[in-house]
Every structure is written in C-alpha cells, then in structure tokens.
C-alpha cells in the first residue's frame, strides 16, 4: 500500500495553515500602516487649508 497521498495531504495542510498564520498578521499590519498614513495626510491637508485661510484673513 502506498502512503504517498496521505503524506502529501498532511504536509500540504501543515504548509497552508502555517502560511496563513505567517501572512495574515503581516498583511493586516500593512493595511493598518496605510490607513494611519492616509489619516495623517488628511489631517495635514486640513491643517494646511485652515492655516492658509487664517493667513488670508489677516492680510
């Protein structure tokens, strides 16, 4: 009897689950960094507009 299909299936499950465990937090971390950067850029943009507005009012 050949056990090859069982061995391949077991090692495939092992590889897939480990890959999920390694990749999922890494991808989430990247998404979080992008969202923080976008928020910071929006806040910076609002601050610039407000700064330009108040400078115009004083002229």
């Amino acid at each position: 009897m050949t056990y090859l299909p069982y061995i391949v299936a077991a090692y495939a499950v092992f590889a897939v689950v480990l890959a999920w465990d390694g990749l999922s937090p890494w991808l989430k971390h990247r998404r979080l960094l992008r969202s923080i950067r976008q928020k910071a850029a929006r806040a910076q943009g609002r601050a610039n507009v407000a700064g330009a507005g108040s400078a115009g009012a004083t002229e």
Binding site: Y3, V13, G22, H29, L32
Partner: protein
Amino acid sequence: MNRIVLWFHQLGSPPAFHRYATRWMPWYFGAALLLLGVGVWAALFRVPADYQQGDSYRILFIHVPCAWMSLFVYVTMAVQAAIAQVWRIKLCEILAMACAPIGAAFTVITLATGSIWGRPMWGTWWDWDPRLTSELVLLFLYIGVIALDASIEDRRRGARVAGFLAMIGLVNLPIIHYSVQWWNSLHQGSTISLMGKSKMDASMILPLAFTVAAMQLWFVGSLLSRARTMLLEREAGKAWARDMAVHETTRANA
C-alpha cells in the same frame, strides 16, 4: 536597576515593543524556516521507514511538534492572561490574545494531520477517542477565547474576560496529556521521553528535534508579528503610531 529588568520595563512601552518585534520577527521566521527545511528534508528522504507503519509514520515529524505546541502555546496564553489579570499590564493582555490564533492553528494542524495519519493506520478519519476528543476541546477553547475577546467592544475588558476563559481551560491540558494512560485509547502512548529512554529509533529523533525547534521559533516569530499588529490597531490614533507609519513610508521611498 539591573539591565535585564530595565530592558523588560522598556519593552512594556508600545513603541519600544513595536520596534523590537519589527526588528526580530524576520530572524525568528527565517531561523524557523531553515530548521524546518532541514527537518522535513531529513524526515521525508533520510530516515528509514518504520517497520510497522511503513512510510505513513513520516507524518509524525509535523504532527508531534504541532501537538506539543498546541499545549505549550495554551500554557503561554494562560500565564500571560494571569499576569494581565493581576498587574493589568496592557502588553500581557495583547500577548495572551495574540497566542490564541497561533495555538488554534497548531491545534488544527494536529487534528488534521492526525486524522490523515489515522485513516490508513486505524481505518477511520475520526474516532471519539479520549486523546482526539480532548484535543478537539482544546480547539474549541482557543476559538472561545478568540470569540470572547472579539465580542466585547472595550478591547482591554475583552482581553481580560477572555483571559479568564484561558485560565479555566488549563484544566484540559493534563486531560489531553494523560488521556492515553487514564483511558483505553486508540491513540498510541508516549513514544518520546524527555527524561527516560525513548521508544523511537535514534535516527528518527534528530529530524524531530529540528522540526520541534522550528515550531518553537515559528511561535515566537508569529507571536511578535500578531502582537505588534494588535498593538498598532489599538494605538492607531497615538502620535508614536503616526510617526512610525510616516517614517516607514519615508524609508520605503528613499
């Protein structure tokens, strides 16, 4: 203050932990993959077939390390949860909750590879055997901790409540370990002994040692990776997180 104690205190600060995790995580994963590669190569191509189970026993080299890790990660989670309950250390709450999906992953691998190994050896994919059933209960405990943590909006309170479940679930660990001795089990008894003489041939021990070490290193890498992500998620509005995100863009564009 002692340098180690000082380092430990500094590591409790979210930016310091994030920096530490980002720096060391790739090394742990790299070392784990290297050891795993050597261990799996030896397990599949170097060691002889078993005289009773033939080549099917080669599943042991991934099944056993993951089974041990499923218990080890649970103990780590419960210890972190206990520290978080007593001293209210935020990082320990995060580390405890970061352990849960890793432990669940190891338990899924244990159950799946055990089932695949059981089909040709026992003639069945599953049996309500004490060892298999108690390991399945362990998976439910991990899922329970993850679900309980996610169900409470206040993240810190969620982690503490889920930590209680983690500590209560510790009672299942001796049941898993001794199930093959306490009850008439289909699952084989211990083959490898850390203290006494192992029943396993010496040529098979070395590849197993490699895969066991690889899984330990993988756990540390994965724990750092998950904990830093959870930390960043909770502290996304803080100045250090903003500075770090902007700094990473500048570094990537440079």
